[in-house]
Every structure is written in C-alpha cells, then in structure tokens.
C-alpha cells in the first residue's frame, strides 16, 4: 500500500516537469526526473538540445540521483545525446546511478561508450 501511494504521488508530480538543468562552465548538468520513461524523455531531449545550442555546451553530465525508474526510452536519450555531443568533440558521462537504473544501463551496453562516476564532484573534475 505504501508503494502504491508513492506511485500515485509520482503520477501527480509528473504533470509538472521536475527536470532541472545546471550549467557549470561548458558542462550541462541534467538532473534527471524521478521516472525516465518515453513521456519524460521527450521533454528532456528537447530541453538539452536548446541548451546545447544557446550555451556553447561541450559536455553533458546525466545526474540520476533522483531517478528510481528508467526504461529503454532513457537509453534512447542517452545514446542520441552521446552522438550529438561526440560530433562537437565533447563527452557524456553519468553519475549517481541506483540499482534498477544500473541494470538497464548494463543491459543496453551503455558502459562500453559512457563513463560512470560515483558522484558529481568526480564527474565535474573529469569534464573540463
């Protein structure tokens, strides 16, 4: 029952996009929402594209700290942003990954091309 209430909460909140961005130097930090599915992925992808264009972004750091659910739509976003960032010579990294997100990233083979860092501090050090 507790679980159910939690999900109902998420459902209500997902109406207002809880996605946040931060820009540190030429790094775009994407604080991914609690659930990353097809519905949220569309908003994230559009938001990132705009910011890359307007702020001379070179690297993207996906921060999964809040994220407890992700499906293949999230994989699609990460791969697609990886491609566009590689085109401009930048880097995509991820951080703060929980167990369920980790299983999906592994299954999709994301770690063959994208690095994961334990926390934001380390990720930011690497992305310079």
């Amino acid at each position: 029952m507790e679980n159910l209430l939690k999900y109902v909460n998420i459902l209500q909140r997902s109406k207002q996009m809880e996605l946040e961005y931060d820009i540190v130097g030429r790094n775009l930090i994407v604080r991914v929402s609690e659930e990353l599915d097809d519905h949220n992925a569309k908003c994230i992808a559009g938001g990132i594209d705009k910011l890359i264009r307007h702020h001379n972004i070179k690297n993207i750091i996906f921060d999964f700290k809040k994220t407890s659910f992700m499906d293949s739509s999230g994989i699609g976003v990460i791969f697609s942003k990886y491609k566009s960032i590689k085109n401009i010579g930048g880097n995509v990294v991820i951080t703060n990954v929980d167990r369920s997100v980790e299983r999906l990233l592994k299954l999709a083979g994301i770690y063959k091309i994208i690095h994961k860092y334990e926390n934001m501090e380390t990720a930011l050090k690497v992305c310079r």
Binding site: Y7, D38, F69, D71, S72, G76, S80, L107
Partner: protein, 144 residues
C-alpha cells in the same frame, strides 16, 4: 500458497498513461509481496509494452491500450494489447537494437528488456490489425 486474482484496464494511447499503467501493475503485484527487484522488473516490462503500443501501434493516432493481469499461485501473467498498425516481421522486431523509428531516439531495446526481466514473452501481431504482447513471470519471493 494459492492465490488467484485478475484485472483488466483500458486507457487512451497518450504518453502520460505509461506512468498510469506502471502504477496499476505495481498495485496488482504488490498484493503478492514481491521483492523490490521483482517489482521493478515487472514495471519496466509493462512500461516497454505499453510504450510500444502507444508510439508504434497507434503512432500519432488515438486508440485504446488494453492491459490484462492475472495471478495464478506465484505466477503473474500480463497481456498488453493494441488495435494499431501491427508488426510485419516479429522476429526482426525482437532483435536487440532493431528499431523502426531511429529518428525518434529509440534504441531498439524494448523487447530485449521485456525478455530479460520476464520469464517468457510471446508476441502475436498482424499488420493492420494490432499487437498482443503476453508475458509471464514466476515470483520466487512467494514460495518462502
């Protein structure tokens, strides 16, 4: 332990209903006291099937997605059905990384995710008629 229950829902093919479908299936599975991992597996598989029905089955059109869930003893059976465009080549669709919509940032991992997280995944589909995805998983946590 013997337990039997069944439910059926029908909802519009809108992307916000992907979260709705996950809530519904979680509530159903929660009755069985699953492990967090089992719950997450089932939610993810359902999310994949429902998303496929919405973006591939119905594309831009409106339609209804049907979801059925049955519990027999410790096994959960889930069916997700659409009356959309159907799949012409099911074998090809199941190949990891195959997607018919690369322009939409799809990764082609949906069926692979369902197959990994569920014990069994069957697809029935006819072009122009629709698609039915049937999945089964035995919850190990229940026998204890």
């Amino acid at each position: 332990m013997k337990y039997q229950n069944e439910m059926k829902v029908e909802f519009d093919s809108q992307s916000q209903n992907e979260a709705f479908a996950r809530v519904v299936i979680s509530a159903m599975v929660a009755q069985l006291d699953p492990t967090l991992e089992e719950l997450s597996d089932i939610k993810t598989a359902v999310s994949e099937a429902v998303t496929n029905a919405i973006i591939h089955g119905y594309e831009e059109c409106e339609g209804k997605v049907h979801m059925l869930c049955k519990i027999y003893d410790s096994t959960i059976y889930i069916e997700v059905k659409d009356y959309g465009k159907g799949i012409e080549d099911i074998e090809k669709a199941r190949v990891p990384l195959y997607t018919s919509k690369p322009e939409l940032d799809r990764s082609g991992m949906g069926f692979t995710v369902m197959e990994t997280f569920m014990d069994e995944v069957e697809i029935e589909s006819k072009a122009g008629i629709g698609t039915k995805v049937m999945m089964r998983k035995k919850l190990e946590s229940i026998d204890k």
